[in-house]
Each structure stands twice: as C-alpha cells, then as structure tokens.
C-alpha cells in the first residue's frame, strides 16, 4: 500500500491523494489524465478494471479503477471531471487500456461525455435516436415509444472527435464496413449468442473478417433504477444481471453495503453464502459446458450438463426458495437458516458430481471431433486478455492469474484451502480447449471448497439485525467478487441517503464480448460459435 502511494505521488507530481478513501485515489484535471494513465501503465498497471461515469451535479466526471496483472492486489482509483455540461469532452484512454473502448462508449451513452480520439463514439445500449443522456441528474426528456423501425439506428457510421492544432474539436465520421462486404447479422435472435446479442459479422465465404457486437437489446437500466431504490430493494436486480451467477452478484452487493455500513455478518452466514456461490459457479460451468457442446452440435452432452445442474437447483429451491435465483443473501446475512439435512445433501452432491465429471471427459473431452474443433482455435494471449480485461476462466486459461477469491479474499474464502486453476502457459496459450477444460477443472476445485466449508459449518446465527432503513455514510465504495465469468465489481457512490447516488456494476461479460473480434478474425463461422461458447458470456450481464 505504501509503495502504491509513493508511486502515485511520483506519477502525479504535485497532486495529493484524496483522504478517507477505500483505495488510493488521485483527483486529476481532464488534461492530466492521459499522462498519468500512461505513466501508470508503464509502471505495470495494465488492467483497467472499471470505468464509471458520475454526474456530480455541477460537473460530469469519470472514475477509473486500475489494477495490475503482476502486482495483483494493487488497486488505484483515478478521478476526473469537467464542469462543461453543455458539451463535455474528456480524453480517451482506450489506446492505453483497450478495455476502455466499450466503457467510454457507455459513459457517452449515459452521460453524453465525448472522448477525444476515441474511434467509435456510437451509443452502446440506447438507440441511436434516443434523446438526452439518462444518467444525468437533470435528465427529464420524454422518449416516445417508437412506432417504426425504419432508419432508427445507424449502425454503420462511427462518429469520432479529434483536436486540431489549435485545440479545436474536429468531428469525423468513419464507416464500419466497406461497400461490398458480405455482412451477416448473427443475432439478436440466434441460438448460439446465449441471449439477445447482435453480432454484425463480415464474412469472406466461411471466413470471419470482422465482428461488431451491438449491445442493448436487454438493457433494463438497472443502474438507473437503483438510484431510486433503497439498498434492500436493489438486491433482486443484482441477481438478474448475470443470471447464471445470480447469487454471487447478490453476495457482492450485500458485501459492499455491509462493509460500507459496518455491519458484521455472522460466520455461519458467510460460510453458507460461499457454499452457495460455489454451487452457483458449478451450475454455471455445467451450463457453460453443456452449451458449448450444444453449440458444437452435441445435444446429448447439453442434456447431461442440465441433468446434474438440476441437483444444484434442487438444493437452491430447498434452502433459498428460488431455483435459478435463490434470493438467499440479504444485507446482514441470509433470509433464513439452511434446512436440516443441508450438509448431507450437499456432501452427496459433491461425491456424485466428482463421478459425473469423469463421465463428461469420456463423453466429450476425449471425443476426437470435439477436441479437433477446440484445439488451436481462438488464441487469446495473456497480454491481449489483460488489455481487454477478459477476466475469469477465460483470462486464467491464457495464464493470467486473476482470481478475485485469491487476490482480495472475501467472506469465507479466507478460511479455505484451494488453488487457483491456471492453464500452464508453456504448453498451452489460451485456445478454445483451454477455456473449455479450465471450467471442468474449476468445478472440481469448487467441490473441494464446498466440502471444506460444509463439514465445518459454524453454529452462530444466520443473520444480524440491521436497521429497517439502511443508510451508507457519504463516500464511494467498491467491492470485487469472482463470479463464474470473472471479475464482478459493485461501485456505490453514496451521499448519505437511503438510496445510492450512483451504482455501477462492473460486468465481466462486456469485456468478454469485446474479445470476440480479435479472437475470431480469420477463423471460420463454426469457430466463431465455438469461441463465443468458450468465452461463456451472458448478455443481461453485459447490457444491465
């Protein structure tokens, strides 16, 4: 921590760190951001976790959460703001951290901040003809329900702004595709996009030339809704982000609020939460495994995955009440205690699952067609993974150690022994097969965690009493958690009221989707589907 503070003092000469913050924070003027960002990148901070737009009332700004792939526990925050609300511009950092590309489009979409030298300033979630910028606090535009779908969205023109020599803004337009390109719309209704994702794919015969993901078909404005809800009311929405990691998202949000409000959660609740997180992870990986098999045409394997996932759903239903979304964690603990016989059910499942995994390998991993289709396809190098922020199993398959459970252990993860599953970077460098096999390996590791926790379940209560109205002290809070798809983050800015001032969820899936284009270039259509399945993204998580 001291090293980081020294480093920050060095990169931003003359600036002092903000006080009373969760992480070392630098507040910068708009024209200083790029220089500091470049120096941080050179000092090893190559992983932009999150980029959040904030409306401060008098100014509009952005918050950057930055970490490093080498010094993994380090996390610094940069903040900047511009007082110009009419025509706000900031400098882009997407050439420094590639993952900023989509984040900055999102900030433009919600706050209207344009980024100088960003190559693609289209709206990302909202339609092209949307009036106003909804996340601004003074937003009161009325958008009529559209009655026509002709010419509403210009997906082909990429507006961008640059500065000329005199510092004046020059607007430019570029074209996404050439005039004679064969562009196929894969999605928004397509069996292999795992939700309503729209991939505009330029093809040369069977070869993919370029992919442009088009988001927003399931954008529900959860972050905007959250600004008008109390903290307990936000909880159900968190499960509907990445619905396959629902309870992990909910756990992360609960932790963020609990840490901010200083609520101490009983050990038993923490243990059970982690057991549920790991069960969710297994369920998600089983579905991911099955979907990958189905996307490659092996429907039988999919049903096998669903069969075993059903057992987890039964455990959820018995204890939490919900199946896909157990709705189990609340602020201060759990909704109710686990049922009697919980330990036995879970242990039975653990031993059952260990046998099932062997069956999966026999059925699918060792199948010559499957292994031929997965090997040597869709290389993702470690450097690209870090630059794109492709976390989770995808990043780890490329050899990037990014498991938040190890980097910043939370809840009961401090009390268990487990190893982070990494693919050996010497023999394999992150092709589709690595991303496939790492999920099955992670299931086995999750079983180990569950076994350790469930045999040592402490006896103190399952919840603590929390005030009827939860209010967080003024400030900014960020909580990371490892979902089945990677680094999930909850950013809450509170002004001391019962509802948050700004909430932002760091979506692991959005960065995974942005990895599609570099991975699929030059591969075949069939590989595009395999690679998409191996990244295992969930669209509601990206769209929010």
């Amino acid at each position: 921590m001291e090293d980081i503070k020294k480093l920050l003092a060095k990169v931003a000469s003359g600036k002092t760190l903000a006080e009373n913050t969760q992480y070392p924070t630098l507040e910068l003027e708009p024209n200083e951001v790029r220089a500091v960002a470049q120096k941080l990148k050179d000092a090893g901070f190559d992983y932009l976790i999150n980029l959040t737009g904030v409306d401060y009332g008098d100014a509009l700004g952005t918050v950057y959460h930055i970490s490093s792939s080498t010094d993994k526990t380090a996390l610094v925050v940069l903040k900047t703001k511009t007082a110009d609300r009419e025509n706000p511009v900031l400098h882009t950092v997407c050439d420094i951290w590639q993952s900023a590309n989509l984040y900055e489009r999102e900030v433009y979409d919600f706050f209207g901040i344009r980024f100088i030298n960003h190559p693609d300033m289209r709206r990302i979630f909202l339609r092209g003809d949307w009036k106003g910028f909804p996340f601004r606090k003074d937003y009161n535009e009325v958008n009529e329900t559209p009655t026509t779908n002709v010419d509403i969205d210009d997906l082909e023109t990429l507006p961008s702004i640059t500065l000329d020599r005199d510092g004046k803004i020059v607007e430019k337009n570029a074209k996404l595709f050439g005039a004679n390109e064969y562009v196929v719309n894969i999605g928004p209704q397509h069996p292999a996009t795992h939700g309503v994702l729209h991939l505009r794919t330029s093809l040369d015969g069977e070869i993919v030339k370029k992919i442009d993901p088009n988001f927003g078909y399931i954008h529900r404005g959860i972050e905007k809704l959250a600004e008008n809800l109390t903290y307990p009311q936000i909880l159900p929405y968190t499960e509907r982000l990445d619905y396959l990691s629902g309870s992990i998202n909910r756990h992360a949000f609960c932790m963020c609020v609990e840490n901010a409000a200083g609520i101490e959660v009983p050990q038993r609740a923490q243990y059970v939460r982690v057991i549920f997180d790991e069960l969710t992870r297994i369920a998600s990986h089983l579905l991911g495994w099955g979907c990958m098999a189905m996307d490659m045409g092996a429907i039988t394997a999919f049903i096998y995955g669903m069969r075993d996932r059903e057992k987890i759903m039964d455990i959820f239903e018995e204890n939490g009440g919900g199946r896909l979304m157990p709705a189990y964690s609340i602020i201060g603990g759990l909704t109710k205690d686990v049922t009697s016989g919980f330990e036995k059910t879970v242990l039975d499942f653990v031993s059952y699952m260990r046998e099932s995994i062997k069956e999966y390998h026999t059925l699918y991993t060792h199948n010559p067609i499957a292994s031929d289709r997965m090997h040597n396809v869709g290389w993702l190098t470690k450097e690209t993974a870090v630059a794109l922020g492709a976390t989770g199993p995808t990043g780890r398959a490329s050899g990037w150690s990014n498991d938040v459970r190890k980097i910043a252990p939370y809840s009961a993860y401090t009390k268990v022994n487990f190893k982070e599953i990494l693919r050996n970077t010497d023999t394999c460098k992150g092709d589709s097969f690595d991303r496939y096999i790492i999920r099955l390996d992670e299931v086995e590791e999750s079983l180990n965690i569950i076994e350790q926790l469930v045999t040592n379940l402490p006896g103190d209560g399952f919840q603590v009493k929390v005030p009827a109205i939860v209010k967080l002290p003024e400030g900014e809070y960020y909580q990371r958690a490892e979902t089945a798809r990677g680094d999930f983050g909850v950013y809450i800015k509170s002004d001391g009221n019962k509802n948050p001032y700004r909430v932002k969820f760091r979506s692991p899936c959005m960065t995974l989707i942005s990895a599609l284009d570099p991975l699929c270039k030059g591969e075949k259509i069939a590989d595009l589907i395999t690679i998409g399945a191996s990244l295992d993204y969930v669209i509601p998580c990206a769209d929010r």
């Binding site: 045409g297 092996a298 075949k524 589907i529």
Partner: protein, 359 residues
C-alpha cells in the same frame, strides 16, 4: 407360408381375370403401386420420427414423448396434423417458382429411389439391369432441391447452408459410389435382383469379409453425410446457421424437407442393407442346412426391415453422440481419408475376385 409376393401375384391374377383389356390392368397396377409407395413413404417417415425421438431420449436420460397414446406413439400423428395446418409464410423478394419447387424436388428424389429398392422377395417397383447405378443417381437429385431452397430463399444463412450442402454431398457421393462399386465387382452385376440372388448363399459381407467391411464402413459414413444429419449437419447447423437452407420455410413446405430427411435416412440404410447385408435374404451359411432352414421361416420383409432398422440405429447412435464437424475437417475426412481408402478397396476387391479368393 404367406409371402408379400404371393399377395401381389394374387392381385395381378384377380385384375387380369376380371378386366379384359391388358392396358387397363397395367394402368390400375401402376396406380396401385404408386399409391402403395406414397403410403409406405409417409408411414416410414412417421415411424422413423417417433423411433428417433424415443431412441435419442434414451441416449439423453429422458423419456421422450409419452403423452399422446401408449408410449407417445401417436405424438407424430399430432405433429403431422399440426404441420399440415400451419401457415406457409410467403416471402418478399425471393424467387417464388424455385422457392416452392425446391421441397418437391427433395421429395421427388427420395420417392424415385423407392422404386428401385427391393423390400421383400419379389416386391419391388422396377428391376433394372443397372439397379445400383439408378439408386445412386436418383438419390442425389434431392441435393438440387437443397441448393435451390438455399438460393431462392434470398437469405444469407440459407445461402451459406446451401453452399456447404453442395460441397458436402458432392464430396461424399464419391465415396458412397466407389464403395458400392467394390460390391458390384464382387457380384459381377449391377442388377439388384442378381445381387440378391448371389447373396442367397452367403451375404456379401461374409463373401469377402475384409474389403466388404471396409466398403460398408465407408458407405455408412458417406451415406450418413449425404443425409445432412449430425455430425454432418453443416448445411443446417442449427447453432451456426439457425436452420441453414430451410430457414425460411414454414408449414408443410418445411414438412417436406423434414420428411425427405427421414426417408433419405431410410433409403441409405436400405441400400446398405441390400448391397452389404443381403437385403431380404435370410442369414445363410453354406453347409449348415438345419440353420438355414430355420432362418427361412422368418419372412423376407422382416429380414429387410430388420437390417435396415439396425443400420438406422447405428446412424442415430452416431447422430446423438458426436459434435458437428467443421467444413475443413469434413472435406479433409472425405478427400484425404475416405476417398483413398475406397479406391484402395476397389483394387483389393478386384484382386481378390480375380484370383477367386472369396468365399
């Protein structure tokens, strides 16, 4: 014992006795044969649909259809009624004539093949001196329907599907034909009746075990690939091209493709059974007179449909176990593995037959 051929002879004699004009007898018989094939065609498709659904359900730890009728056997009837009642959605900006002709060409291709098959002793539509050649030729007509469907739909997915289908079927046709040619060498005739005749003593698969087995494996793979079913379902590729060449079809026009697919499955298995496994001939071994006599008690149509179903089951087994190939793997399999093997197989068969080293 009553054979199917006896019934046919009886009908012929009945008609000849009651109708004096010979041309009228022939006309009525043609109509009857046509109706018989159409009925058989529909029944086989219906049976295969429920057969596949049940089989794949058990592969997948499910029960399959079990509500309509005992063991759900009437589910297909319900599905058939549903698909007949569904709207045929007209498209804008497509080639109407080709679009509506394509399903008929697919159906026609497989229906023509039915005429050349031998379903039981003395039960067949036509008996050519080039029977095998005829079967191979007309069973490939349906690819034209597939290509037309993909082209005339004016849809990018179906166009890619149709192009894949063209590349795939033309490639695998080669291996299928060459593996059959080896058996033609063994028999010395392309006439299916002659082939049945010479398998009465011993099935071809036992007459020259090594080349016949290689030929049969190659034929089964190639025939499976020609039916556009998994792991060779690239033209449809549900998860890539949504439904490939028939993505724009609805109602009974889609139903034609569906029925055609199942009948092609049957036809390919039937050709395999006729050429390699003795068709309707019972299992005979020279020298085992008692055993042969017992086998003769089983009617010839049971032998034929039993062998065909066995080969269909093998096909389903593969379909529900393997993931889909990629287009380059598919072409690699055909041009670099199966084609050299089938050429070698013809050579091997020719050497064996020329030297009389067959049973």
């Amino acid at each position: 014992m009553l054979q199917l051929s006896d019934i046919i002879t009886w009908i012929h004699e009945f008609l000849s006795a009651n109708i004096p004009a010979e041309w009228a007898v022939k006309l009525i018989e043609y109509v009857l044969v046509g109706l018989g094939f159409l009925t058989l065609y529909a029944l086989i498709a219906l049976f295969l649909i429920i057969f596949e659904r049940k089989i794949c359900a058990y592969f997948q730890c499910r029960l399959g259809p079990n509500r309509v009728g005992p063991w759900g056997i009437f589910q297909v009837i319900a599905d058939m009624v549903k698909i007949l009642l569904k709207e045929i959605i007209p498209l804008k900006h497509n080639d109407k004539l080709l679009y509506y002709a394509a399903p008929f060409i697919v159906i026609m291709g497989s229906l023509l093949t039915f005429g050349g098959l031998q379903f039981a002793k003395g039960v067949h539509g036509v008996d050519f001196n080039i029977g095998v050649f005829y079967l191979l030729a007309v069973s490939s007509i349906s690819i034209i329907g597939v290509m037309l469907a993909g082209w005339s739909s004016n849809n990018k997915y179906s166009l890619i599907g149709a192009m894949r289908s063209g590349a795939q079927v033309i490639s695998f046709e080669l291996s299928a034909c060459l593996s059959m040619m080896a058996m033609v060498i063994l028999c010395g005739s392309m006439n299916l009746s002659d082939m049945m005749e010479s398998q009465g003593r011993l099935w071809f698969i036992f007459q020259a075990p090594i080349p016949a087995f290689i030929g049969m494996v190659i034929y089964l793979i190639a025939a499976h690939a020609e039916t556009n079913r998994g792991p060779f379902d690239l033209p449809e590729a549900e998860s890539e091209l949504t439904a490939g060449y028939h993505v724009e079809y609805s109602g009974i026009t889609f139903g034609f493709f569906y029925v055609g697919e199942y009948c092609n499955l049957f036809i390919n298995a039937a050709i395999g059974a006729l050429v390699f496994l003795g068709g309707w001939q019972p299992l005979h071994f020279p020298g085992c007179e008692g055993f042969n006599a017992v086998m003769d008690y089983i009617p010839s149509c049971v032998w034929f449909f039993g062998k065909t179903l066995l080969l269909i089951f093998l096909s389903l087994w593969v379909r529900w176990s393997f993931p889909r190939l990629r287009i380059d793997q598919l072409l690699h399999l055909e041009w670099k593995i199966m084609l050299p093997f089938s050429l070698f197989n013809i050579l091997l068969m020719a050497v064996l037959v020329a030297n009389g080293w067959v049973f």
